[in-house]
């Protein structure tokens, strides 16, 4: 008899579940008989296995952690924003002091035009600016806005802009020594201070980029790159682009690439049943739509059949391109 049986945790689990054939099961029992530690381990596993069986299966609708966090976050903000009511005898004093402080603060802000700063830490953040434009800050990005006669923002990191049209007040983005000027459009700026690398890409409308004495006008679909060593240059757009948090844009993108982007963004698994489907080229834009309807559009575009498998995956099938 082999006096040195080794047993893996897979085998032990299979033993508990009754998945081992008699010979394999005997091997586990021999292992347990070898040493008191092994016997104890087997006993503990058996106890655990039985104990787990005494509870109900976890309920099928497990809580949605993202939604739960949003809810908690809102309550945290609400609770922290609530002013603690001061004592009756002093509340008037407090109120007067607060009003005074607010007035001084506002006057000071108007006078020196103090910028408002927005920062995104570990998750992307969507911010509505004072002029009604909206921006999406990628993790680590920072932006300060100064809205007066001119709309000026300074930024660092990756920021997507959806600028509200206002011909009277041009919108100016400064990232290090690059300035992007627009009237109303949507575009993204990436700027890394440590490497001085800078990139801008335009989704709609037109923007003007000034850097190192050079100037370029970019239109929808254009992108440009700049760093201290090279000149400002226009580069071709890739077939798949993501804007902000949930806007996807494809321009003659092969379906394999489309599927890869969708899987990443929606955390789903999509199967292309026929390899020739990978060659289909898609040109489309999806603005924060549910994954099911995006795939429906794709299926209709290429006359494919969309199915959901038992395990919840999506499957596209058809003749291909």
């Amino acid at each position: 008899m082999d006096t040195n049986e080794t047993i893996t945790s897979e085998e032990l689990a299979a033993y508990m579940a009754g998945e081992l054939d008699p010979e394999q099961a005997q091997r586990v029992e021999r292992w347990a008989a070898q040493r008191i530690d092994n016997a104890e381990e087997l006993r503990r596993l058996q106890e655990t296995w039985t104990m787990v069986g005494s509870a109900d299966a976890p309920s099928a609708d497990t809580p949605d952690v993202d939604r739960a966090w949003d809810r908690l976050n809102a309550r945290m903000n609400e609770a922290e924003g609530a002013v603690v009511r001061p004592l009756w005898s002093t509340w008037r004093t407090w109120l007067a002091a607060a009003a005074m402080l607010a007035m001084v603060f506002t006057a000071y802000r108007i006078w020196v035009n103090v910028p408002t700063v927005h920062v995104a830490q570990s998750t992307p953040r969507t911010v509505l600016l004072e002029d009604g434009s909206s921006v999406v800050l990628s993790p680590g990005a920072q932006l300060s806005e100064r809205m007066g006669q001119h709309r000026r923002v300074e930024m660092e990191g990756t920021v997507y802009f959806d600028v509200r049209h206002d011909a009277e007040r041009p919108f100016e983005v400064q990232a290090d020594d690059v300035v992007v000027t627009v009237l109303g459009t949507s575009f993204e700026v990436r700027s890394a201070t440590d490497t001085s690398a800078f990139a801008v890409r335009v989704r709609t409308g037109r923007v003007r980029v000034k850097a190192g004495g050079a100037e370029l006008v970019l239109e929808a679909g254009d992108r440009a790159r700049y760093d201290k060593r090279s000149l400002l240059e226009r580069t071709p757009a890739p077939p798949a682009e993501v804007w902000g948090e949930r806007i996807l844009q494809f321009s003659q993108a092969p379906l394999s690439r489309v599927v890869a982007e969708l899987e990443r963004m929606y955390q789903v698994h999509i199967v292309l049943a026929n390899p020739s489907l990978e060659r289909c080229q898609l040109t489309a834009e999806f603005d924060d739509e549910p994954i099911g309807s995006i795939l429906q559009v794709i299926a209709e575009t290429f006359a494919l059949e969309l199915k959901r498998t038992d395990s919840g995956d999506y499957e596209l099938n058809g003749d291909g391109c």
Partner: protein, 187 residues
């Protein structure tokens, strides 16, 4: 994980703590309350209080143990208020004391549910199909479109996770106190 960064106001650390424990804690609360919405509300309420009173909790070292103990206390408070009311013949209510054994049993059930809910989603799905729905490894592999090898592997890991998570609930054998039972590791 200690509570110091959160006590100092680190929101990202608090979010990480919440995301790590939310599901298992809800499952734990479910063991007492038998109502998913009530369980979620109770856990939400606990985290909200924890954040608002974070400065008072700077000294908490075993955060996980603290969370479970707090949820348990809240659940017991919530259930004892309703459970103790037993209808009398004249239509009024009276209090019924739960026995110690009942409480202990409920604690165990809640701990088990939390431990299963704490398994990573894929592993949990496989484990539930095997243990609670009684499917064979081959059937699970077919249903989820994965290999039998993966099922075996995940089941091994699940059992190992549960064993260490629930270790304190498994009774020791008396003779082990004399021999000094070592921890027979499994590979």
């Amino acid at each position: 994980m200690d509570f110091a960064p959160i006590a100092a106001g680190d929101r990202a650390a608090f979010e990480a703590l919440f995301r790590l424990h939310y599901r298992p804690l809800c499952a734990f609360a479910m063991g007492y309350l038998k109502d998913g919405d009530k369980a979620e509300d109770l856990v939400q309420e606990l985290f909200l209080r924890l954040w608002l009173d974070r400065e008072k909790h700077g000294g908490v070292v075993h955060v996980k143990a603290y969370l479970y103990a707090s949820v348990r206390n809240r659940c017991i408070n919530a259930t004892h208020i309703t459970r103790r009311l037993v209808p009398l013949e004249d239509g009024t209510h009276t209090a019924a004391e739960p026995t110690m054994a009942e409480d202990e049993h409920q604690d165990r059930i809640a701990r088990v549910q939390a431990a299963v809910a704490a398994l990573p989603p894929e592993r949990q799905r496989i484990f539930v199909l095997c243990k609670y729905e009684g499917l064979k490894h081959q059937q699970i592999a077919d249903r989820l479109g994965i290999s039998v090898k993966t099922v075996e592997n995940q089941m091994g890991k699940a059992l190992k996770d549960l064993r260490s998570e629930l270790a304190d609930l498994v009774p020791l054998l008396p003779w082990l106190f004399f021999i000094g039972g070592g921890d027979g590791g499994i590979g």
